[in-house]
Symmetry: D2
Subunit: 333 residues, 4 copies
């Protein structure tokens, strides 16, 4: 299989590296209009084919699939053109700039029988996969809340706000772990420097009392990457900054007993052992690339397919709408 990688900025070279090392990938064609970036990739990955002209890449029938790592505003047109040229597509997160664009791409992929995948990298980490397993095995019980913090002295983006930049990661993790459908979104933020919100809070409501919350911040003095997941049986703390023991499972909880004739609910607390499961240490992006290649070969759907990308964009778009309306609740669907 021959794979093109379009866009050689911050993330593209990582895709070139991983696809170059992937099984079944015969060659990687690296493409960017910027000659310096092209040369730099050529120097680091001497086996990559360098291609400055995207038109030529798209019309090259020997290239079966493309990975697109360009600014989000260009995702739609590039992915559309690639699929119209019969190519499978892996898109950098977020999938597209609007729900409408994302839906169009999902439908186009179905119509053409092509694989459409989104690069939600965290889904392929040992930590997130272990949490999914714990939840699916019923060890946590029903999820009662999902709380995420992703803050640091960030790199300001010039085209999107901090929600599109950082919360995308955590919303994709929530979508992977929580199997219920969100029903509404509210978001609050503040833009101190370049007109895009650099501090923001996003609330995602589900039915039955489940609530998810995301704190993202480009202006924090410390780097925090934490997700707390409350469950009716156990609770999880996922701390991605920890060098080891990133996932901790607490046998802690509350049980409420209603006693006849007694007004107050009796709350009882339970505290047992904590454990940190051993996590698979394989590079997430490598698994993701294999997943893409394997999905094409087996004609199956990848784990983070177009629909996963669409659901995340749906929430991001709703968050933006709420941000513009002072936190007014935006209903999904």
């Amino acid at each position: 299989m021959k794979i093109g990688v379009v866009g050689l900025g911050y993330w593209g070279p990582n895709l070139v590296r991983n696809f170059s090392a992937a099984e079944k990938v015969e060659s990687v064609v690296a493409c960017d209009v910027d000659q310096r970036r092209l040369q730099s990739v050529g120097k680091k990955f001497p086996t990559a084919v360098l291609e400055p002209d995207i038109k030529r890449l798209f019309s090259d029938d020997s290239i079966e699939a493309v990975a697109i790592a360009t600014p989000v505003s260009t995702h739609f047109h590039l992915a559309k053109e690639a699929m119209e040229n019969g190519k499978h597509v892996l898109l950098e997160k977020p999938l597209a700039a609007t729900t409408a664009e994302a839906e169009y791409l999902v439908n186009l992929a179905i119509g053409k029988g092509l694989v459409l995948m989104v690069d939600h990298t965290f889904i392929y980490t040992g930590a997130v996969r272990k949490m999914r397993q714990l939840i699916d095995d019923g060890e946590i019980g029903r999820v009662s809340y999902f709380d995420s913090v992703r803050v640091n002295l960030g790199l300001f983006q010039h085209d999107v706000n901090v929600v599109w930049d950082l919360a995308t990661h955590d919303i994709s993790i929530m979508h992977y772990l929580v199997h219920e459908r969100p029903v509404s979104v509210a978001a609050f933020g503040s833009a101190h420097y370049n007109g895009h919100e650099d501090v923001a809070y996003v609330v995602v409501n589900f039915n039955d009392g489940l609530m998810a919350h995301f704190h993202v911040n480009w202006l924090a003095p410390v780097k925090v990457r934490q997700i707390l997941i409350g469950g009716t049986k156990k609770m999880i703390m996922y701390d991605d900054v920890e060098p080891s023991e990133k996932v901790k499972v607490y046998d802690k909880g509350v049980t409420a007993a209603t006693r006849e004739g007694i007004y107050d609910t009796l709350i009882q607390y339970r505290t047992g052992d904590m454990y940190a499961p051993h996590l698979d240490g394989a590079e997430a992006l490598s698994l993701l690339c294999s997943n893409f290649v394997g999905s094409i070969a087996r004609e199956t759907s990848p784990e983070t397919d177009g629909n996963a990308g669409l659901e995340v964009v749906r929430i991001l778009e709703a968050a933006d709408k709420s941000l513009k309306n002072h936190g007014a609740l935006v209903t999904l669907d």
Copy 2:
């Protein structure tokens, strides 16, 4: 001076202990209808006078001041009666159950020329006082955001939700540190066990892009007590769980330069030293009690006077209103 302490549950004995040790306090009269509590306090503090009858306490003219540590629903009536009997009043936080009650108490105190104080204990810690000094000295610059997290495995309260229980602390700290007036409040929460919200998020908006946010949770597997304060010059991380170095000041920040003829703002990052100032280790409640006694003696206003208590109740009430309306924005005043 003779001081009465009303309510000998969780907090009252701490007041008995501190007033017993305070200068200028001649004797402490401890009062509760529950005989067991009364006996327990009597055993621990043999010099305290035990009084089961609150009527007698209120009508005892030798008692100049009372500290009230009863459930919040009783604050108004007890404080009102105490002041009508000419006594200075220290109320456990929050000051009252409604803004209307709080306003009435504030006005009553003014009318009677009495000291009305609220027990916002954190204001008297070395950490919070140091942060106030840093902000007032201009070292932080203009505050751009205030983010607080106060979560752990509960104690569930039976009469109030997690916002009234935990966020009161952080809102009182914000009120002490940030000198601007909040303009609106939104809150989101979920009640999993006894009908009161046990997980909640509160947003407090100010003018000029300043936003405060409070995360409170009785259902968290880990104990977190952190406040991040962003400033235009420096940033503060206050971690109350740390045994030492609770306050860290980061010489970090962002500067934005608009260059003529260039579309994007140029964002530059600045990273300098971090330092943790030495903090006064005196017990906060001891300082608070001295402040109360001193205010009465000097006929001055205490640091956490009735107005401070009123402003916090105003935000708590607005948060409750927003919680009941799915996060709808509630304007203050």
Copy 3:
């Protein structure tokens, strides 16, 4: 039972408090020549009997047992006299100032049929008891090393060095956890201020490659209280400064395979889950006091009996001897 507490300095009042609350203890007689200390204890514990004269205490036949919390140099004479007056004795750690004194006391207790106990408080903490259980259950495998660090900006002692002050705790923990007998001791230290070593390292050798090491320091800028225990199956990290999860058990290890005809040993690494067992949170000193009272009542030996105290003193004395000889190895027995 009536119990005397001799010495009301730093630790004595804790003994008064715990014996006052202990079952089967009818009254506590608190004794010190210093009138201020006596008054202070009288104020805090109104039920305690105050006794300035130790002679009278020792000759009072209604007092069945005494706890001695005086400087170590006085332990021997006070304990001897108490036992000669037929009283059971609990001694503050370390048991005595020399091995000879400790042996004499142990033999005297046997001869008189009295309980002799040493206050190795840590042995009664949930953390240390859990570690003992893990080791005794075989979960750790054979202990291969014991490494302890106890450092902070300490309170300099005027009568003993940092080994006698701090390492006593860790040596008593080692003695409780490791069932093999130590064979030799070496120690290195440095005295910067008052002639007593304020920084010291103690090595305790066992047979079969087991080695224990103790780092104690009164001059450290941070507070560290950590014990690492290596085992052939699992490893333990005990961090007493952590507010929760003080004991962590790591399913990590090394296996060595010798392959025929191949020179090098093949070392394989194993990394599994980590877990932090839930620990009993009861106050250690309360358990210790109950253990003392119970041992007297049941005529059994307490967990930290005179022999435990003797073995710790033996190591401390050897460490001192090595310190004076520039770290020369001192054989035990």
Copy 4:
């Protein structure tokens, strides 16, 4: 300048990468007898010249300098031959397997007028350089102790023990920071698996009460890389595992006052601010390579010259001697 890199195992490729990027270096010749290693380096660094024959490399007059990253047992012969062929030499740490070898190499370099450098990488980190500056500026006062811990679940080395593998780093840091000369060494260790000590403690004594101590361990469940430095004015905690704020400077200390006619020394404690200076984040190995190239060009001595390497080997050799003699003190010189 043309530089040869000999030995392409774990560390050699890092040298190839850094010399390839260094100013004034025209080309890098990578040399190993193992064809697979050679090919692997060729693939990653397409500009490097591949050379399987070390004889040809040594006799190539166009190669001015060589970096040697082979097992320590081979250092002496390879470095000797390189210098006899007129080449400047950079040796992987430790400089040589014995003090005699190290002295020979130092003298050979002087005799030939060649640069001899040892790869003590940590000396070129921002953290260690900042500590040196703090000490040299007098901010710390006189150094009173140096305590280092470097432990984790190791990679076992097959040719050297844990002291030669890990303590080399910390001894080189001590040698760089502490300007006094060590006078004696004692070491204790235990070998559990392959005959080489995998847990060890090394004591280095200086005159005037300064003592250094090194704990190294391949069998620890957690990764610790900490150095505590006590000073008469301030204290330093260097934690290399921390992602930021690796160096913390504590304004803490003790002052001792002798009062006339009073037996005990009066010890007073001082606790002020802590600060974490901003550290230069440049890659240490890149600075080291520039230092080597610059020293050759300017005909000056590099910061970690042959003498620095010799002093470290002297201590390692003494530690080995003490290990073999049950911790007997070994005098240096």
